[in-house]
């Protein structure tokens, strides 16, 4: 087939002629019409995920008070924010907890800002000749502050290990509550809808890729932390377990709480559900093969969170068709499975992104630079103190 370029696809989008399908719809089309026809007819495939992503947060610039203050410590609704940058800049991390609480944190502050609610700001400073003020307390909101942009160091994990628990007690983890003696299995990707599983070698996703983020348009800023394209892959190129990651950026002021939600995991802490959608251009037949990946072809490791070490033992390899069926077999027993990432929401995002592209409101952006293709993840092995 003739190859398509980003520019040619964008030309079709502008004219309202682009054929856009979600990653689920394209599987159905390939089943009926074959890969070749699918590659020719379809221009863009929309992918999405809506899962808890701890490595999230927002940069805020509060604006200058009179007299001005160089904030040394900042709290937003009693949640400490990092302010070791310029005078009135701060970063509020999603997992930072409010002082004295374990069920309210940075993610809640971000959600309240997005909802347009007032947030209590407290700041203290040493006081300088150019920034004499030493204290400030009052309310801010999305409207009142200069800038607010989400900047998430690691989102949209390309696959992730499923979790279970061999111990005799309930484990409270970021993978949810894991019941004793392999009482359940949880998993956290959208499977065949998930962005990086539809472009396993990240051919079309790189620095500058325009995406759906939190209900508005955002961008891939960089590869995510712990980006690991060297992970073992199946024959179809799809990594078995957590591999590639993305660092994402977008205007918080334009986001909606429908696609950005604080989450509390008991005895673990606070995280944030982030809605991410990525359009994948159908450049050629290879891409058609990638975007038609099916749940049964995506495999991941089932890990025992009962082992508290860095490398949790893999109990077995499972695929997403099994995980999504509601049960997996483990040690000759049927064990209940449950998702943590909302497939319902992911479908909404993929459909919304499809609509934006069909209406010509969202153009594809060719990456300015590719993401690393051969990085590995280093463990933390500190040099012990003498």
């Amino acid at each position: 087939m003739a190859k398509k370029t980003f520019a040619e696809i964008n030309e079709k989008i502008k004219k309202g002629e682009a054929v856009v399908l979600t990653a689920e719809e394209v599987v159905a089309m390939a089943d009926e019409q074959g890969l070749k026809a699918t590659a020719e007819k379809v221009d863009v495939v929309t992918t999405a995920t809506f899962g808890p992503m701890c490595s999230s947060g927002a940069f805020l610039n509060f604006g200058h008070s009179d007299p001005p203050i160089k904030m040394a410590k900042v709290w937003l609704n009693q949640v400490p924010a990092y302010t070791g940058i310029a005078a009135v800049d701060a970063y509020i991390g999603a997992t930072e907890l409010a002082e004295g609480r374990d069920d309210y944190g940075g993610a809640h502050v971000i959600e309240e800002l997005v909802a347009g609610k007032s947030v209590r700001l407290k700041a203290i400073a040493q006081g300088t000749d150019c920034y004499p003020r030493k204290e400030l307390e009052g309310y801010i909101s999305r409207e009142s502050i200069n800038e607010a942009f989400l900047f998430n160091p690691r989102n949209a994990y390309q696959n992730y290990g499923a979790a279970t628990n061999s111990t005799g007690r309930i484990l409270y983890t970021y993978m949810g509550m894991l019941l004793p003696k392999f009482g359940n299995v949880t998993y956290s990707t959208a499977g065949q809808l998930s962005p990086l599983l539809n472009d396993p070698y990240l051919r079309t996703i790189g620095v500058g890729t325009r995406i759906f983020l939190g209900g508005t348009q955002g961008y891939v800023a960089w590869h995510g932390t712990q980006h690991n394209p060297s992970k073992a892959r199946g024959e179809n190129g799809v990594p078995v377990g957590g591999a590639g990651t993305l660092s994402l950026i977008g205007d918080l002021k334009a986001m909606t709480t429908e696609y950005l939600k604080a989450a509390v995991f008991k005895n673990y802490g606070v995280s944030m559900f982030v809605g991410v959608g990525i359009p994948i251009p159908m450049l050629d037949e290879d891409m058609a093969r990638f975007v038609t990946v099916r749940d049964r072809e995506i495999k991941t490791t089932l890990l025992d969170y009962g082992v508290p070490g860095r490398s949790r033992p893999t109990l077995k390899v499972v695929d997403y068709a099994e995980l999504k069926s509601g049960f997996v077999e483990l040690n000759g027993r049927k064990v209940r499975t449950a998702p943590l990432s909302s497939i319902y929401k992911a479908r909404q995002i993929a459909a919304t992104l499809k609509e934006w592209i069909e209406r010509g409101e969202f153009m594809l952006q060719e990456p300015a630079a590719p993401l690393p293709a051969d990085a590995t993840v280093k463990p933390l092995d500190v040099k012990e103190l003498d």
């Binding site: 509550m177 989450a263 499975t337 943590l340 909302s342 929401k345």
Partner: protein
């Protein structure tokens, strides 16, 4: 025949009444105790599934009321603020009775209160904190 689940709430004065005996013997009801917390001198709770003729069940409930025992149907005990749910599925990981389950077509979480045994695990498992329960005599639905 009807089958329903109830929580019986005993006061310090009523905790020692042999009500299961009366329900079985006097009203011909099939009684399956799912959960019980009864401490002499204090309030007690008993969660049971009751099966029997509708008329017998009605008379039994009247008898319990006359004995001073509060009866709360379980479907009034656990409340899910479903309009706020993002359908992540975390609650379904811990729900053994199957009251909270994913609809695997739409991938929406569905709550079937008649299956609930009011174990309370879902309250801790829900990342949005939108599930509440009132086993301790409270009626979550009215909170």
């Amino acid at each position: 025949m009807v089958k329903e689940r109830f929580t019986f709430v005993f006061s310090p004065e009523t905790y020692d009444k042999p009500i299961t005996y009366h329900l079985v013997k006097d009203f011909d009801l099939k009684l399956n105790i799912l959960r019980a917390e009864i401490t002499p001198g204090e309030e007690g709770h008993l969660l049971a599934e009751i099966e029997g003729e509708e008329d017998n069940l009605r008379r039994a409930l009247e008898f319990l009321a006359a004995e001073g025992i509060e009866v709360i149907p379980t479907h009034r005990q656990v409340t899910v603020r479903q309009e706020e749910c993002v359908h992540c599925g975390a609650c379904t990981a811990v729900c053994f009775s199957g009251a909270l389950a994913m609809n695997r077509e739409e991938w929406k979480m569905e709550f079937r209160p008649e299956k609930c045994i009011v174990c309370g695990l879902c309250i801790e498992a829900c990342p949005l904190r939108i599930i509440s329960v009132g086993f301790g005599g409270g009626k979550a639905g009215e909170a």
